[in-house]
């Protein structure tokens, strides 16, 4: 039967109400940074207002994230060992977003005429197919270097982890630099998101993936920052790694669908 514990003294009970302003700062920072700044610029054509919104949002998000990382490094939670499963559930959601984008792309391809005769549609310049191979190499390599670094960390060799983390960051940043190079060239040739259906799919898929690479790199930067301060949250290292591998694997689908089909 139930052990009824009502009315017992609260003396053995902990605690105070846990507080943190970090989540609120991040949420409202995101609100200023994305919805409001985007609307000011694209809907109302007021660049100054957009800059003000972004100027309010960015420090809020950065302060919130910094506070969050700080709290994560110093406070312990009895159940934080489930974080890898949590990121796994989150990744299921991410996969479904990519599936939604792929479904749109596939619909366009299938309805674009018999056997894709009309593909790529008029207005598509020559797309460099060697660069994505190189980018794939960078990203896959970074997955391995990070994984190797994690092993070193688990063996207690923080110095080597730092080295491999830096290598992974450089590889990931190289990937983004290639994307930027590619975008600049395509824009110069008049291939912008509104050009045709292929450009729409191309920029939405590679852009959305690129945003994920950026988030992964920011997570790595947070780990790097923690190392400099002297705090390594192994759980966060592991979670960031799982996320990074996901970003890596999903790139194989993005690249094969966008460039080589």
């Amino acid at each position: 039967m139930q052990q009824v514990v009502q009315g017992e003294a609260r003396a053995t009970h902990e605690h105070h109400w846990e507080v943190s302003w970090a989540p609120m700062a991040v949420a409202f920072g995101v609100m200023f940074l994305i919805p409001l700044a985007f609307s000011a610029y694209f809907v109302y054509q007021r660049p100054l207002l957009a800059i003000i919104c972004a100027g309010i949002g960015t420090p809020l998000v950065l302060a919130g994230v910094a506070k969050w990382i700080h709290e994560g490094a110093t406070q312990h939670s009895a159940i934080s060992n489930v974080s890898p499963v949590g990121i796994g559930v989150f990744i299921i959601g991410e996969i479904l977003i990519f599936l939604g984008l792929f479904a749109s792309y596939w619909t366009m391809r299938i309805s674009s005429g018999a056997a894709g005769e009309l593909w790529p549609p008029a207005g598509t310049p020559h797309i460099n197919l060697v660069l994505p191979l190189f980018m794939t190499g960078l990203l896959v390599a970074s997955s391995f270097t990070y994984h190797y670094g994690e092993h070193k960390l688990n063996d207690g060799r923080k110095g080597w982890f730092l080295v491999w983390l830096l290598v992974s960051i450089i590889l990931g940043a190289g990937f983004l630099a290639c994307t930027a190079y590619e975008y600049v060239h395509l824009f110069a040739e008049g291939f912008v998101p509104g050009t045709n259906q292929y450009s729409a799919a191309f920029y939405s898929l590679t852009g959305f993936h690129g945003a994920h690479v950026l988030v992964g790199l920011l997570a790595f930067a947070a780990i790097l920052f923690g190392m400099i301060v002297g705090n390594v949250n192994k759980m966060f290292v592991k979670v960031a790694g799982i996320y990074w591998h996901f970003v890596d694997v999903i790139w194989l689908f993005v690249a094969s669908q966008v460039y080589y089909w």
Binding site: M1, Q2, Q3, V4, V5, Q6, R10, T12, H13, E14, H15, H16, W17, E18, V19, S20, W21, P23, M24, A27, F28, V30, M31, I34, P35, F38, S39, F42, V43, E71, Q75, H76, S77, A78, I79, V82, V85, G86, V89, F90, I92, G93, L96, I97, F98, L99, G100, L101, S104, T107, M108, S111, P193, G194, N196, Q197, S199, A200, Y203, S204
Partner: protein
Amino acid sequence: MTTATEFAPAPRRSGIKEWIFTTDHKRIGILYLVGAMAAFVVAGIMGLGIRIEQMSPGESGLINYFVGDFAQTMTTGAAYNAALYFHGAAMILAFLIPALTGFAANYLVPLMIGAPDVAFPRINALSLWLFYAAILVALLTFVIPDKPDIMWTGYPPYSITTSANTAFYVFTVHLIGFASILGAVNFLITIIYMRAPGMGWNKMNMFVWTTFGAFVIQIVFVPVLAAAVTLLLLDKYVGTGFFDPTRGGDVLLYQNLFWFYSHPAVYVIFLPAIGLLFDIIATQAKNYIFNYKAAVYGGILGIVVITGEVWVHHLYIAGMPNWISIGMMVTTLLISVPVGLILISLWGTLYKGAITYNVSMWYAVVCLFLILAGGLTGIPLAITSLTVHLSETSFVHAHFHFIMGLMATFAVFAAVYHWFPKMTGRSADIPIAKIAFWFTVIGSQVTFLPLFLIGIKGMPRRYWDYAMFPEFEPYHLIATFGSALVAVGVTLMIVGWIYAAFRGPKVSTNPWNSKSLEWTHTESPPGPGNFQRPVRVDESWTPYNYN
């Protein structure tokens, strides 16, 4: 339990800071309720405006005041569309989903499974404030000149060609959607890993099970909606052509993506509402859950499995091959099987129970009839032939209002009354609550029953002007009268809640003599960490162990 020591506890200070910066699931739950009820009130006023505009055919111009256009610069149609947009988007995205998967899940799930908090308390707080950010973006509707006018569905091509602000719609969906995905991560992990020792899967409260089902649906389907509205944003503001037929896009693609989420969203609302009813009915009838395993594994998990295969019934009249429409008719009708299992369990739980009637039980019993009426009127809409006649009429509108607008909403009200003593230590079951109940319940029937009738006779939905159907005017008049009764009822109810929270009669820790952990193992309201010591349940324990 993080920092339990045997020394004297820190004083439990609790000022404003401990509320707004809280990471405690109970306070986050209550803040969800406050935000959701605020959205409910504003969206309800929009609904009232819609009914007032429809009181007579032709233009009244009153709807402009409701959407904040006091200078009467908008046409009646534009103002009506803005009201329709806010009513739909806010009721679903800012009231029902946050009230059920935000308020109820947050407040009850950790308490019911004997956990000190959710798995990731700060992520939980992030969900809450993303929800508030979304409400703020939605409320901007009333101050911007180009108010969104695209319903809650945002169908292209209109949403792309309209001069109104589609971006705010998209971002409201994004913010709420992201909050839902984070909520799903949190609650799935919490339910899987943080149940009290001894609490097997077959001993969980029904509400915990339905929340589990609802969040599985959220994690799979919300991202697809996020992708769809993102492409809408790109189409309108960046110049792509995903949904623009003149540029090789496909309008139906959007509708498919949208309903691929938005029909399951009905079950995201339906499941937790049912879970609340199960727990309220079992407690007030002092009975075990009839056919627990059939309701859980057949009913709840059955819905989770089938929910992704029914969305096309929203597009029947868009034109499609028969094999698709007939296939989807079968799956749509098939979902009545798990729903039926759940209903049998709900009614069976009443059988031979020692039923106590109070306001929360009244609402719960009304819900049983509403599910029946709302569910049975869904069958003609699922059948490909009948739906040709009924589609886009106010029959559809009355049908889904029975399930979402009345059943799910009343389940939220019932839950607030039932767990009010837990949240405040006081009872909200005061005379004003009973008066409010009758106004709300009678008013809601007076509002929606006429809409079924004129829907069958051909009254189109979403129209602000029905001058071509003058014979429907009396029905609209009755419906508007009903909505006024609802407005009175809801106002009294909220006044009653606020009064009861501060002045209501104090009640014991377990006023309903429930066997569920949130009543038996902690005080009202529970302190930080929920339980004085880690909870453990033994072999014979179940939350419904009344016999």
